[in-house]
């Protein structure tokens, strides 16, 4: 990812959720003459978390950014910040060549399911780009958006997931992401629906 200014940092903010956190963080960036190049934020179980890539025209000490944000934080709860210099990560070439799939799993909740699931994917060099887990009573639902290297046979992955599901008490499905794009978004995927119509980059950029 190319940042606007030369001196870039990745920030991670975690806080008790309340109004004013984003205003505080962005206020500090502006005050330092910087730019927010990318950010993603979510709230889970009453906790706010945000990851940002920010850049500045002049060198800024990472610790300075942290202290300023903590001082600017709105009252009413804790707020933690971590900052480290940003360098564009080198994505393994194979991930770029893989296609995006969505794995969904539904079943009875018990400890260790996400670990077993993610360990399996890691062993196959399958990259999780987005993970969601929620419980309603005893039941859980998991959705994982993943990049599957082309060398894997989809039917075999599905068979492995079926077997894992039998052992752990859940049902899991792996489906190409285009089915979710086609059924939810006004435009057909990329104006074309055939096979490998997304590069990894294009896919990342789509909202």
């Amino acid at each position: 990812m190319k940042t606007r200014f030369e001196h870039a940092y990745v920030l991670n903010v975690m806080a008790d959720d309340r109004p004013g956190i984003i205003a505080a963080v962005s206020g500090v960036i502006v005050a330092l003459g910087g730019n927010i190049d990318a950010c993603s934020q979510t709230v889970l179980g009453g906790y706010f978390t945000q990851i940002l890539v920010v850049s500045f025209p002049k060198t800024v000490a990472a610790q300075d950014i942290v202290v300023r944000i903590q001082k600017a934080a709105p009252p009413g709860g804790a707020l933690e910040v971590a900052a480290r210099p940003y360098a564009a990560p080198v994505t393994p070439v194979e991930h770029k060549m893989g296609e995006r799939f969505v794995i969904t799993a539904l079943g009875k909740d018990k400890p260790g399911i996400i670990h077993r699931f993610s360990q399996y994917l890691a062993g196959k060099d399958i990259n999780i780009v987005d993970l969601y887990w929620d419980c309603a009573g005893e039941d859980f639902v998991l959705t994982a958006q993943v990049e599957i290297p082309k060398r894997w046979e989809l039917a075999l992955l599905q068979a492995d997931l079926d077997e894992m599901g039998r052992e752990e008490g859940f049902s899991a499905r792996v489906q190409h992401e285009n089915i979710f794009v086609a059924t939810n978004q006004l435009r057909l995927p990329g104006g074309q629906l055939i096979g490998n119509c997304f590069s990894a980059e294009a896919s990342h950029g789509r909202q």
Binding site: V129, F180, T183
Partner: protein, 457 residues
């Protein structure tokens, strides 16, 4: 990045509500299989089908697996068999049908359509062979489906053909009496037959089509019904307009599933993608019923006053959703009301809520027509022809497709329950009122002229 709620709503539709792709139908022009000897016709036909269709099932299964959506039926629709049979005899018709049956079996294809005659204005030599051989063909083959187009808004209604079809239906029923006249379930008599319809038994590959195309039939009455239930459970002030909107949105999503699968299958097979036909095509399975949608819309007894309006709203909303989802919508694209194949409709017919006359009225605003209706086996041919003529008139006058799939069940009387099995379900034999009272009209024959296109009131 996809949103979690998008993923979960699609999962709900695909898996909890059992959305499937009802059919992937390969349309194939076989006119180049014509030859002077029937041996050569059959050899060329088999070779061509195997060349194009041998990988159809495998491809559909692979693509279906990739998206997690089963493709329930893989089918083949050929250009009208009447073209190949011109200049040949009745024996050739049977040989050709047998070749189709065997080739379909070899390719693991459920059904093959296109044993078709287009006779809306007149009956050619090839058409006559197709029509006359139907009893033998439909009783001696498993997978061959037939259609006869006897009317169009440009030609009017060929009453000579209509009259013949009444007699032929009785002969088919007699030839398949052991299966309670089941041969008739593999024949549709049409007005304005679509050239790209992927649904059986009426699929054929039209003259205006490419050499080969992939047409998709998606269904999903269960998905529409669930969406309506969810909307109603949300509460709040609710009008039919709101429910029509819900049907439209659901149809949009269902159509997209079909187009995604269809385009990919077509690309893999190296043939152009044709159309996606979004028709609410029920199956006997509970929850997969157009009748249940009508009940959800507040028609307590299907066939009661209001049923026609409800079907009209449903069909229109389905078309609108489909048309917005895809620029390649075709075929029938509406709501089917096949009585035996729809548990709620079959139930309404058994209880006497749904009569033939009301069904006929409903078909004036929905897809296809009098579909999968069991009638007494002793119904006179002229009366069957008159029922066909009425349904054709609805199609011709309204410039829409209508079809008739009647099953005169040999030996069965009104009210008797007839079991066809599998997807064809079971049906109570419906009462035909005023039997025989239109014989003189039918016997006049000739052609009912094409309707005027102006002064429409």
């Amino acid at each position: 990045m996809l949103r979690t709620d998008e993923i979960l709503s699609t999962i709900q539709m695909l898996h909890a509500e059992h959305l499937d792709v009802r059919t992937v139908t390969l349309g194939l022009n076989v006119n180049d299989c014509a030859a002077s000897s029937v041996d050569n016709v059959c050899r060329k036909l088999r070779e061509k089908i195997l060349r194009h269709a041998s990988t159809l099932v495998r491809t559909c299964d692979r693509v279906g697996g990739k998206y997690g959506i089963p493709v329930t039926n893989k089918r083949l629709a050929i250009s009208p068999a009447s073209h190949l049979l011109a200049g040949h005899g009745h024996g050739a018709a049977l040989r050709l049908a047998q070749t189709l049956d065997d080739a379909a079996k070899e390719c693991n294809i459920n059904l093959v359509g296109g044993f078709t005659a287009l006779v809306q204005k007149g009956i050619s030599g090839g058409d006559a062979i197709v029509m006359e051989s139907l009893p033998q063909v439909l009783s001696s083959t498993q997978r061959v489906c037939a259609s006869v187009n006897v009317a169009s808004h440009r030609a009017g209604i060929n009453m000579d053909a209509v009259r013949q079809m009444g007699e032929i239906l009785l002969k088919i029923a007699a030839a398949t009496a052991a299966q309670r006249g089941f041969g008739c379930a593999k024949l549709v008599i049409f007005s304005n037959i679509p050239e790209d319809n992927p649904f059986m038994a009426g699929a054929y590959h039209g003259e205006g089509e490419a050499e080969a195309t992939i047409n998709i039939g998606v269904s999903g009455p269960g998905v529409v019904s669930s969406a309506l239930h969810r909307r109603i459970q949300l509460g709040g002030p609710l009008t039919l307009g709101d429910l029509a909107e819900e049907i439209k949105i659901t149809s949009f999503r269902v159509t997209r599933v079909g187009e995604l699968i269809g385009r990919e299958v077509a690309a893999e097979l190296g043939v152009p993608f044709g159309i996606v036909d979004l028709s609410l095509a029920p199956t006997p399975e509970v929850g997969d019923s157009v009748g249940e949608i009508l009940r959800t819309l507040g028609i307590e007894k299907i066939g009661a006053p209001g049923s026609t309006a409800a079907v009209a709203m449903l069909t229109d909303a389905v078309k609108k959703g489909g048309a917005f989802a895809s620029s390649s919508v075709g075929g029938m694209s509406g709501a089917f009301i096949p009585v035996s194949e729809d548990s709620a409709l079959a139930d309404a017919a058994a209880k006497g809520h749904l009569t033939l006359e009301k069904l006929e009225a409903m078909t004036s605003v929905c897809s296809v027509g009098l579909d999968m209706i069991a009638i007494p086996g002793d119904t006179p041919a002229e009366t069957i022809s008159a029922i066909i003529a009425d349904e054709m008139a609805i199609g011709v006058m309204n410039n829409k497709t209508t079809g008739v799939r009647l099953i005169p069940v040999p030996g069965a009387k009104t009210g008797e329950l007839v079991e066809f099995g599998g997807l064809f379900g079971s049906a109570t034999v419906m009462e035909i009122r005023n039997t025989g009272a239109s014989a003189a009209f039918v016997r006049l024959g000739g052609r009912i002229p094409a309707p005027i296109q102006s002064l429409r009131n």
